[in-house]
């Protein structure tokens, strides 16, 4: 099914960019991308490349009961990230070097981690890691 906003968002991920939607009329950013601006209802919507910096609102490590097609990924971590631009999204979290996620804390700073285009294709979602800054 044709869905340009989905495809453009995913093309951004494959290029290593986290795109957030920005209204060409009122200038407000919003996530997830919409078909009309939720603030002014404009149909003229564009993209803004996020700095990829934000805080981790919450996270979990799923250890059992993966959805179909995700069984081999277990265990894996998911988090809700509040970006500094004022929008938020659900993302995967990069494991620590020991393969666990002990370094993650609620309200800690996290940053977007670009992944290789081949990884972004089967799993078109954003990845985050603890902030270096």
């Amino acid at each position: 099914m044709s869905n340009p906003i989905r495809d453009e968002f995913r093309a951004g991920l494959a290029r290593g960019d986290l795109l957030i939607q920005k209204c060409n009329d009122c200038g407000k950013v919003n996530m997830y991308p919409r078909h009309a601006c939720p603030y002014c209802q404009s149909l003229s919507l564009g993209w803004h490349k996020s700095t990829g910096i934000g805080v981790l609102h919450s996270f979990t490590v799923l250890r059992a009961g993966a959805p179909e097609g995700f069984e081999a990924d277990l265990p894996y971590a998911l988090g809700v990230v509040k970006l500094d631009e004022g929008v938020q999204l659900l993302a995967r979290l990069v494991p620590d070097p020991d393969g666990n996620w002990q370094s993650y804390q609620c309200d800690a700073r996290v940053q977007f981690r670009p992944v290789a285009p081949e990884s972004a294709t089967p799993r078109p979602c954003a990845w985050f890691e603890p902030s270096a800054g």
Partner: protein
């Protein structure tokens, strides 16, 4: 513009919509039962409880099943009119659906139909066959329902992970301990020991046992997650005038409030608050009630944090104290504010969209004084019912009040 307004009907109006009967079949794994059979039997139980027969019903509302789209289609396309012998008699039959909050919305809808005269007597039916369904197929289905396909499905999100995201944030925001969270499950299990229809009757639980079970989605342990169950519940609503003519005790809806706070779990601004404070304020403003005006509560409980957040929003305890409030025994049998007196979804069984309906039915049953000698709470006049659907997208509050022969009792 004000976001609350009064009910346009008062308690003494002849068209005030009221509950007059409930029915339920045991929850758990019942492969020997079947979908249409259970719907038929539970409907007849609810009608008998209301001292009615099928031909007293003019409208049937169906609460959806999730185990099969084909069985769900039978709900959409009036099969129960045929099964109950109502062809040519029934005015209307249709399905209502907002996931876990369906029962709250079904009550609003039935109330509106009755108050306006579009219906006089409404039978609301639910049956789920999750306990006997293929578990892997249900996990896959539940990983696609209520999760935005474009934005969140690619992460591998599923239902326990959603519960875990809420639980983690709640524990962080309130500094609640793992033992505090587990104590909620123990409270429910105590109630389940008193409910012959509960899946986990005869299976006591301790905090230690919960915390010793394996972690499935940090910080959630396996025994903090609901078990999919077969089950069936039904209730009957009619006009106060019709109930009076028939000499029936009733339960009226004193008010309701709701708040839709997200669709995608990743778009919830505060996973430790959700929509509960707004929903509660709206319900209290509509009814003139406060949290101290009810004696019991029945609140959706797929995960402890879902309910601890709700009781904080509803004002049963101070903000941030919900888990410790449950740990204190406040909601236990004999506690100052009994909650989820059927054992809730975590101990009576998660019957899908019907889990919230079973809680609603338990509230009505308690108000009618029909909860049986083991778990009937004494002197119950008012009950607060709370529901939520999808990825806890909404908070819905119904305020229910007992009437005896049309009067407060």
């Amino acid at each position: 513009m004000a976001d609350t307004w009064p009910l346009h009907i008062d308690a003494n109006a002849p068209n005030d919509p009221v509950f007059v009967g409930v029915g339920e079949l045991p929850s758990g794994r019942y492969p020997e039962r079947n979908f249409i059979g259970d719907l038929t039997h539970v409907g007849l139980l609810a009608l008998a409880d209301a001292r009615m027969v099928p031909r007293d019903v003019d409208t049937i509302l169906l609460i959806p099943c999730l185990h099969s789209p084909f069985d769900q289609a039978d709900l959409i396309f009036s099969r129960m009119a045929e099964e109950l012998g109502l062809l040519g008699h029934l005015k209307s039959s249709f399905m209502v659906h907002s996931g876990g909050s369906t029962s709250d919305n079904a009550v609003r809808l039935a109330s509106g139909l009755i108050a306006s005269g579009h219906a006089r007597t409404v039978l609301v039916l639910h049956c789920e066959r999750w306990g006997s369904a293929d578990l892997n197929a249900m996990v896959t289905m539940l990983s696609k329902y209520g999760i935005p396909n474009e934005w969140e499905a690619p992460t591998g999100l599923q239902f326990n992970a959603i519960g875990a995201l809420i639980t983690r944030r709640y524990m962080h925001a309130t500094q609640s301990s793992a033992a505090d969270m587990a104590s909620f499950c123990v409270t429910l299990r105590k109630w389940a020991q008193l409910n012959p229809n509960a899946m986990y009757r005869g299976k006591p639980l301790t905090v230690e046992k919960v915390l010793a079970s394996k972690v499935v989605a940090d910080p959630l342990h396996a025994l903090e997650c609901p078990m999919l169950a077969d089950g069936a519940v039904a209730f009957v609503m009619t006009s106060a005038e019709n109930a009076k003519v028939r000499g029936l005790d009733t339960v009226r809806v004193a008010g309701s409030g709701g708040s839709v706070s997200h669709y995608s779990v990743g778009q919830e601004p505060d996973l430790a608050a959700l929509g509960w404070a707004t929903a509660a304020r709206r319900a209290y403003e509509q009814s003139g009630w406060g949290p101290k005006d009810a004696q019991i509560a029945q609140i959706y409980d797929t995960y402890a944090a879902v309910t601890t957040i709700a009781v904080e929003g509803l004002g049963f305890c101070k903000p941030g104290e919900g888990a410790r409030w449950f740990a204190s025994g406040a909601a236990d049998p004999g506690g100052k504010m009994p909650c989820n007196t059927n054992g809730g979804m975590l101990s009576a069984g998660h019957t899908g969209v019907g889990g919230g309906t079973a809680l609603l039915v338990e509230g009505v049953r308690q108000l009618l004084g029909r909860a049986g000698p083991e778990r009937q709470v004494t002197d119950v006049q008012r009950c607060i019912v709370g529901g939520t659907g999808g990825s806890y997208m909404d908070a819905q509050v119904l305020l229910l009040e007992r009437r005896t022969k049309g009067r407060p009792s």
